[in-house]
Amino acid sequence: MTAVTSPRPPTPASRPGRRRGPSGLDRARRREAAALVMPSLLPILVLSVAPLLMGVLLAFTDAELVRQPDYQFVGADNFTRLAGNSLFWDSFRIGMTWAIAVTLLQLVAALGLALLLNSGLRLQSLTRVLALIPWAMPPVVVAIMWKMIYSPNAGPLNAFLGSLGLPDDINWLADFSTALPAVIVVGVWVGMPQTTVTLLAGLQQIPPELNEAASMDGAGAWRRFWAVTMPSLRPIVTSITSLNFIWNFNSFSLVYVLTEGGPGGRTMLPMLFTYLEAFKNRNIGYAAAMGVVLVVVVVLLLAVYLRSQFRDDRAEKKG
């Protein structure tokens, strides 16, 4: 570890004048911390926390989006009503399948790609740009483009399968068994650049000396990956996985344009319910309750996940 840093005189005695009591140091640190955090606070408070609080509070009212609204505080009524909404909970299950599948596949696929991009292959700068292409496609056309690719009778995917002698009449987005997997593939595709770049940056951050040292100890590529790469990458993997999960759970417009929730409701995501309730039914109070429930469930899941990650971290440090 120390080998990475620049040469330095490592004696605490070299700066006796700065020696202070622990409490003084703490206070100074806290002041520094405040100065560093402050600039981010104002826009966040005004443009994010305030609207967010208003949104949460609406969940306890019977607010509707009418002109000159007049609404009442109704306590937990919205939540009891929601508990009995079986359609919502059905879609909740689909949403979980979708979010977990996409997040995991994204992670595995992006980790593989990031390792490839980091392993000194030729044309590295070109392939790195190509790997970001899903980012460059304007989102308004992403769904339209994938619909064309999946088209049962005019799409390149089936034409390609047909040329290999495989069945070429699969109706990807409309078949009850392939629709959800098909949209999951699009979800993975859309999120890949994000995860890849993040992991690639994480890989770049690992001091090469660590790998060299492990090599010298005789560790093979596989051992090095698990002994050096993964532990160093762990905080970043944790961060991007939690965020990916949240985003995937929250997204619905992509899937909605691809399948409109079909066939037969197989791709109906829970956020679609919130949207319909908030904007189409204009029951913003009830919709806010849906939002709050989604937040609570997701935050609880993440808390469990993050906790286990931190615990592993600590265990590792001790060990």
């Binding site: 609080l53 002109r67 000159q68 007049d70 409309a174 904007f279 204009r282």
Partner: protein, 424 residues
């Protein structure tokens, strides 16, 4: 916590009201009035037609200038609901009846009943006017409509020895017969893009006496009886007994399903009437096609009307001027020009006649325009929970039925129990 919650909610309310009221106080008394006209535009020809109408108005009315704010169909609902709630909506709003009704019910649209001229009122067929009348108030001028039309490949019909139907209407049984007769070899009789089946089934239900809903607002009851089930059952029988519908088309959108029609895989296709213009443009050079007469069920050829509309923001400081502009916009020659550009059916009888006279039989126009008198107001337009029921209950239920995952009884049961759950 409790009190704070209420007070923040109250603050929000007050801010809305305040902002809404300051929003209307701009412009001032001197100088020309400027009206913001949010126009939905996609086809270049229609954009040009709209611009030319607005230019004419601006030239004639130096005191009331209209400024076009272009917006896209994609997301305009979200944009409007935010604008209305934030008190920042434009003066004149272009949209469609099925989506604008909820804004009217929430109090955001000006009552145009007394501002619409008698001449215009008499010119709009009753069913179409009803579709923009909410609680006895006219809340929009209808402008353009589409109907469902059957387009046929004349060559394939003649090869199968079928006489191309003529006359004022064609029954669904005739359609079924022709589909059966033309189904042979690789050719299917019919292609129908039913990926979002609800709109098609509900728009065509009036011909079978199906109404689906009764009442308005929150007080709506859903019935799924013989009239409502007739069309889904007919499609089901054609698909699985006669095997005369190309299966893949039933999972596609209309514009996707039309490719099989061009390719000669289907002899007929049910499409929105505006597709006539696309067929003329996109079909292979030697493609011989015809628009068949309007479909009629046992109750007649009615279809539910869902016209595009022009409405006025109730908080506009120039409601009257806005209505005058719309009145100008919907004059016969203007509506005719706009609908010709969009390949849609004008919402006024005089503009329909003007177009028929101008375009004659070219590209099936006369048949399509003739269906402009068959529109009727659809009760579901006025039901609060329709949009949610359509997306979360009806569409999945119809898709399951059309994919043979469920039978008639289960379909009817799912439609009604889903409605009960949503409206509980």
């Amino acid at each position: 916590m409790k009190t704070r919650g209420v007070s923040i909610a109250a603050c929000l309310t007050i801010t809305t009201a305040l902002l809404a009221s300051c929003g209307s106080g701009d412009a001032g008394d001197d100088g020309p009035v400027t009206l913001k006209f949010q126009a939905l535009s996609d086809q270049p020809a229609a954009i040009a037609a709209t611009e030319s109408i607005v230019e004419d108005w601006n030239a004639e009315h130096p005191d009331v200038q209209v400024e076009i704010v272009p917006a896209g169909w994609d997301g305009v609902y979200d944009k409007l609901i935010t604008q209305f709630n934030g008190g920042a909506a434009p003066d004149v709003i272009h949209y469609e009846a099925a989506s604008i009704v909820s804004f009217a019910r929430d109090g955001y649209l000006a009552d145009l009943t007394d501002l619409m001229s008698d001449e215009r009122r008499a010119d709009i067929p009753e069913g179409i006017l009803d579709s923009v009348t909410v609680d006895d108030q006219v809340i929009a001028y209808p402008t353009e409509l589409q109907s469902y039309v059957v387009f046929a490949n004349r060559t394939l019909l003649e090869d199968a020895g079928v006489e191309v139907p003529t006359g004022d209407t064609m029954t669904w049984d005739e359609l079924r017969e022709i589909a059966r007769a033309t189904t042979k070899g690789d050719v299917y009789g019919l292609g129908w893009g039913l990926s979002s089946p609800t709109a098609a089934f509900m728009s065509l239900a009036p011909g079978f006496g199906g109404t689906y809903m009764e009442g308005t607002g929150e007080d709506v009851t859903l019935t799924v009886g013989e009239g409502e089930m007739a069309l889904p059952e007919l499609v089901h029988d054609m698909a699985y007994e006669d095997r005369s519908i190309l299966p893949v088309t039933m999972t596609q959108s209309g514009s996707e399903a039309i490719a099989s029609f061009y390719a000669g895989q289907t002899a007929m296709t049910v499409q929105g009437s505006y597709q006539a213009a696309n067929i003329a443009k996109d079909a292979p050079k030697d493609f011989d096609w015809v628009a068949l007469p309007p479909l009629a069920g046992p109750e007649g050829p009615q279809q539910a009307a869902n016209p595009q509309t022009l409405s006025v923001n109730i908080d506009s400081s120039h409601v009257e001027e806005s209505a005058e502009f719309i009145e100008f916009f919907t004059q016969t020659e203007n509506l005719a020009a706009l609908n010709e550009a969009d390949a849609l059916i004008p919402a006024t009888t005089s503009a329909q006649e003007a177009l028929t006279e101008k375009l004659g039989d070219e590209n099936g126009w006369s048949t399509i325009l003739a269906s402009g008198q068959n529109f009727t107001a659809a009760p579901y337009l006025f039901a609060d929970s329709y949009a949610q029921w359509k997306d979360t209950v009806a569409t999945p239920a119809y898709q399951r039925y059309l994919a043979q995952e469920t039978d008639e009884a289960e379909l009817a049961e799912q439609l009604t129990s889903g409605w009960d759950e949503i409206t509980q």
